[in-house]
């Protein structure tokens, strides 16, 4: 019994090692890439399209809509980053249906890596949108007294992102594993289904929070320009 797939090490040479998390992640990357390539290999630009292309288009359009709804005016800029976040986490959690599968999102290392990616992406997008000074000024909002709190908030929310996803997925897997030993029939199936639902919700929450953080970093300029309305950040933090 192990808490994280990191503990299943298949090969190690000094610090460098190949554990279950990395291998599974590669597998997921392979699946995503191959599926995408297979479908987009022969895209139709006419009105009649294949069902798979239709599915992909629905996903892309939905992600764009979500980004737009959160408050980012140009969703195409953020589509790749946020869409990939969602697809990776969703697929990773979806595959918990498979036997002997351990989701990489059940590893704190993976969720931390994703949270760090968001932690870095937020200032990058903010700087790209508002410039270095413009972005840094957001830490002094609404007054300079808030600077330490803003910095703490930045760090803690990253930590929260990582731990939230890890906790949910890990706990789901753990509960199923424990239940299998206690009541091996029927009941674990329901728990798996519940885990599936939780996994999807977590994928959604993770990516929508990342969107909100990016939106908060890029929207500040506009707010200063006199636009009214609460920052989406305030709703989700």
């Amino acid at each position: 019994m192990h808490l994280s797939p990191d503990q299943v090490v298949l090969w190690q040479n000094g610090v460098v090692k190949l554990n279950s998390t990395i291998i599974t992640t590669w597998g997921l990357m392979l699946i995503l890439t191959i599926c995408s390539w297979l479908i987009t290999r022969k895209l139709s630009t006419s009105i009649k399209i294949s069902p798979w292309q239709n599915l992909l288009e629905i996903i892309v359009v939905s992600v764009k809509q979500q980004i737009q709804e959160v408050g980012l005016a140009e969703p195409a800029k953020y589509l790749t980053f946020l869409g990939t976040l969602f697809l990776f986490i969703a697929l990773s959690n979806l595959c918990t249906l498979l036997p002997f599968y351990e989701p990489p999102t059940g590893s704190l290392s993976t969720t931390a890596a994703l949270a760090i990616s968001v932690f870095v992406a937020v200032p990058v997008f903010g700087v790209l949108e508002s410039g270095v000074r413009g972005y840094l000024r957001t830490y002094l909002e609404p007054t300079w007294l808030m600077l330490p709190f803003n910095i703490i908030s930045e760090l803690t929310r990253t930590l929260a992102l990582a731990v939230r996803l890890f906790g949910n997925i890990m706990s789901g897997s753990m509960i199923v594993a424990i239940l299998l030993t206690i009541t091996p029939l029927i009941f674990p199936i329901f728990m798996t289904l519940l885990g599936l639902l939780t996994g999807m919700v977590q994928a959604y929450i993770f990516s929508i929070l990342a969107t909100v953080y990016i939106a908060a970093a890029t929207e500040t300029q506009k707010e200063r320009a006199g636009e009214s309305g609460a920052s989406p950040y305030q709703h989700f933090n």
Binding site: L43, T80, G83, L108
Partner: protein
Amino acid sequence: MLIDWFTVVAQVINFLILVWLLQRFLYKPIVNAMQTREEKIASQLRDAEKQKTEAEAEAVKFRVAHDQLEQRKQELLKGAENEAETLQRRLTEEARHEIETVREKWQQALRDEQRAFQSDLTKALRQEVFSIARGVLADLAGVDVQARMATMFIRRLEKLDAEERAKLNLIVTADGKAPVIRSAFELSPAVREAIERAVAKLEPADTLQGVQYEITPELIGGIELAANGRKVSWSISDYLLSLEQRVQQLMARRTKIDEQVE
């Protein structure tokens, strides 16, 4: 320790690679395809709009043309109807006229036939009636009747006025021939004597050359004194002729009245 920092770094790199891969194989082609399709649809919609406008214009044009055709059709139909009506009226008139003519002819023929039949009937009837009358009177006329006939004849002679006597006289003296007494039967001597006496009273005895006697069956019954075309007679044939003339006059008048009525 739940966090393995090597794994964290590896996962960050993995994630960045995945972002690049999906950008390359998923988002870019899909977004491009959608954009192309949207443009294509927009272009098709524009084309459709254009075609619709053109079609509407065409439809208006065709509707106008159709209306004109319809109007022309109505006019032609009306003209044809009028023509047909006129022709029908003319033909009816002609037919009526023809029927009238034929009827007239037929009626005329009928009238002619009727008239001819009436005429034939009248003639036949008349001939029959007179034939019967002649027969009957001829049968009845005998010697006993002669005396009566002679009496009637003599009375006739006596009733002649002066002018008639003069004419008779003139005729007698002019040709110098004896007057002829005609009768259907042989007259008895007594009757002859009475007649001669009556004739003698008409003329002086010296100028009278005598009297000749002739038997003429056509007289049926009666006696006739003829002198050079002039005659004085009393005979049944005279009565019958007179009757026949009267009947003919009546028939002629009747026919005239019928024609006027028609």
